[in-house]
């Protein structure tokens, strides 16, 4: 949640001149609705999002839109989150049988982040492109956070 807050705080201000570059990235929705066990898949989804977001900000530094300290803060936060989720998932994997099938949700998320990266490359990592990507990643976090909260309300034993 702290990461979402950070991202939200730095998506603003959004310059109007960047509106022309807006592109729909097709955030994969409902990927968790039909998969089982839901709790584990949410953790995997968040792990994937944290890792991919970190990867994007790390490999191609968005220093045109963010100051270095702020970028470091975001990367630290994402890294911590990812490591924490990794430990959670490893414990679960020990308990359950190791499935050698890649979840559909993971593949959908990968394709989604690939679209984002391709967009950045096409736009040559411009200022506006980064701004749009920042907003998109924030949207992604918000969506999954909300999804998790809804699930929590509906399931007593979450």
């Amino acid at each position: 949640k702290e990461n979402a807050r950070l991202l939200i705080s730095m998506s603003y201000p959004f310059p109007l001149r960047c509106l022309k570059d807006i592109k729909g990235f097709g955030l994969p929705q409902n990927i968790l609705s039909y998969s089982w066990p839901v709790e584990r898949n949410i953790k995997e989804a968040f792990y994937e999002i944290s890792m991919q977001a970190f990867s994007i900000f790390s490999r191609h530094s968005p220093i045109s839109i963010w100051k270095e300290e702020f970028l470091a803060q975001i990367k630290s936060g994402l890294s911590e989150q990812k490591e924490h989720l990794k430990r959670c998932l490893e414990e679960e994997k020990k308990q359950s049988k190791n499935m050698q099938v890649i979840q559909q949700s993971k593949l959908a998320l990968r394709r989604y982040f690939q679209r984002i990266e391709n967009y950045l490359k096409d736009k040559k990592y411009s200022y506006c492109a980064w701004k749009i990507v920042a907003v998109e990643i924030k949207r992604c976090f918000s969506y999954f956070l909300k999804f998790t909260e809804l699930l929590r309300e509906n399931q007593v034993s979450f």
């Binding site: 790390s58 490999r59 803060q73 994402l78 593949l107």
Partner: protein, 502 residues
């Protein structure tokens, strides 16, 4: 229907195997088909079962590069696949785990198995001028690669300047303190820091080590820097010695979670005293934390017995204290994080409680006295009113004929005389009284009802003309149900004229 694309690098192949440059999406299902061609004829297509490349792909071994110091070896790891941004493993760069096998290349060399996520590792406490060897394999969830080839390296001769040792981290007031040990004098030191997450990224992070302010060219075996330089995250620190010409190798890296050490400022406390309790206000220095509570210690100035209170709120009322006694309090912040950190105590604030309940008794007595006086005055007023009515509404004997009407109202008679006074009420009754005459039943009820009420009010009512008095009061009482618009006192007066019930 389908748009089959020719696979570059796999056209006109004479063998039974081809390598192709993967310009495909690794996470989407892909279909292949192969056919044989000869001159002008072709076979039919053989369709390969569709699959997802990422699912099917197998992991190659990692690459290794070694660098030698005198008593340590630095291991640089590279994940399998090309590093030009086209690899299928690009998106997994942060998920790789490596298993290393490290040994001394001699007869008694024991194998050490190390598991690491870091792309740069270091083996310490080795012997000088010795050969060490390493092989590594990579793991990505359930996919495991084969071992890489064995790489070996020789450690150098002993370096003149030793690296600093026992690097420790601590906090003091609003600063952090980094300390280390070093035997020789006449050396200067410099200390550097690194974000912990840099260790997980496969990109060269050796140039991401940054200089700590106030920690360059220091002659002391410690350096002090403000806490504001670092966020509450994980960092690595290292120290190096220099004697002008030569520099030592870097010390062992110290991992620090700064949140564990960061100082919390104490809160500010103020108090207000009420008669037997104290109203305490605690103000936290800055809104830095999510979950925290205040710990408040309270004691009487004279004694030493302390009372501890824990509260989440910033204003608390402490009841049940002795009045006119000086009490002192101090407070501190208790964080509910994994280290249960606390701040130091705030300054002590003392306040004397106000005079207590004993002093408040005196003012209760006058209130009671006033109430009694009010009751007495009220009774006097009632009596006056009775007299007043008696004087101004003279009792007269009704004609004998009327007496026969036992409970008939004398509303008419009364009305004629009282019209002079309170017109409002009786004007209404004027019309009503006729009705009363016609409907005796109702009046009976009212009479009974109100007689029971007013029987208590008789007080000092004189017993003269009792029977007539009864009758008059009957009439008056009958007026009461309609006389709702009358002022309260008048109604009361009327009913108080009432009866000593027979």
């Amino acid at each position: 229907m389908d748009n089959w694309i020719k696979l570059p690098g796999c056209q006109h192949i004479t063998g039974s195997k081809c390598d192709f440059f993967p310009l495909i999406n690794f996470y989407e299902e892909i279909k292949f088909r192969v056919r044989a061609e000869e001159e002008n004829s072709t076979s039919s297509w053989y369709y390969v079962d569709p699959f997802i490349p990422f699912q099917k792909a197998r992991l190659g071994p990692p690459e290794v590069r070694l660098e030698a110091e005198d008593k340590a070896v630095i291991i640089y790891l590279f994940r399998p696949g090309k590093r030009d941004g086209t690899s299928i493993w690009d998106m997994d760069a942060l998920s790789f785990e490596f298993s290393l096998v490290f040994w001394e290349n001699s007869s008694h060399g024991e194998e050490q198995e190390i598991k690491t996520n870091f792309y740069i590792s270091k083996m310490y406490d080795l012997s000088t001028e010795t050969t060490y060897c390493l092989k590594a394999k990579a793991r990505l969830s359930w996919k495991v690669s084969a071992y890489s080839p064995v790489y070996c390296i020789n450690t150098t001769a002993e370096h003149k300047l030793l690296p600093p040792e026992n690097v420790t981290f601590g906090a003091r007031n609003q600063s952090y303190v980094l300390t280390w040990e070093y035997r020789d004098v006449n050396v200067t030191f410099r200390a550097q820091w690194l974000h912990a997450f840099s260790k997980l990224t496969p990109w060269d992070n050796s140039n991401e080590w940054k200089q700590i302010p106030n920690c360059e060219n220091v002659r002391t075996t410690y350096c002090v820097f403000p806490q504001s330089v670092f966020q509450k995250k994980e960092y690595y620190f290292r120290v190096q010695a220099s004697d002008g010409n030569d520099t030592s190798f870097w010390s062992k890296e110290k991992a620090v979670q700064t949140e564990m050490y960061s100082t919390i400022l104490p809160p500010v406390v103020s108090m207000k005293s009420t008669n037997d309790s104290l109203h305490v206000f605690v103000k936290a220095p800055k809104k830095q934390f999510d979950t925290f509570t205040y710990e408040i210690i309270l004691w009487e100035n004279a004694s030493h017995t302390e009372r501890k209170l824990v509260s989440k709120r910033s204003d608390i009322i402490i009841p049940g204290l002795k009045p006119l006694t000086p009490y002192c309090i101090k407070a501190r912040v208790l964080l509910q994080d994994k280290w249960n950190k606390t701040s130091v105590f705030s300054a002590v604030v003392c306040e004397k409680t106000k005079p207590g309940a004993a002093a408040s008794i005196p003012w209760v007595i006058p209130v009671i006295v006033i109430l009694l006086l009010a009751v007495i005055a009220f009774c006097v007023m009632k009596l006056l009113w009775k007299c007043f009515n008696y004087v101004f509404f003279p009792v007269f004997k009704p004609p004998c004929s009327i007496e026969h009407f036992s409970e008939q109202p004398f509303g008419n008679l009364l009305l004629s005389t009282s019209e002079e006074q309170t017109e409002k009420c009786f004007i209404i009754e004027n019309t009503q009284s006729v009705i009363i005459v016609e409907e005796p039943e109702e009046t009976d009820e009212d009479y009974r009802k109100y007689s029971s009420q007013s029987s208590q009010d008789s007080g000092n009512y004189s017993n003269e003309d009792e029977s007539l008095g009864n009758q008059i009061s009957e009439a008056l009482l009958q007026l009461k149900p309609q006389a709702l618009s009358c002022p309260g006192e008048l109604v009361l007066g009327l009913s108080s004229l009432g009866l000593h019930s027979s």
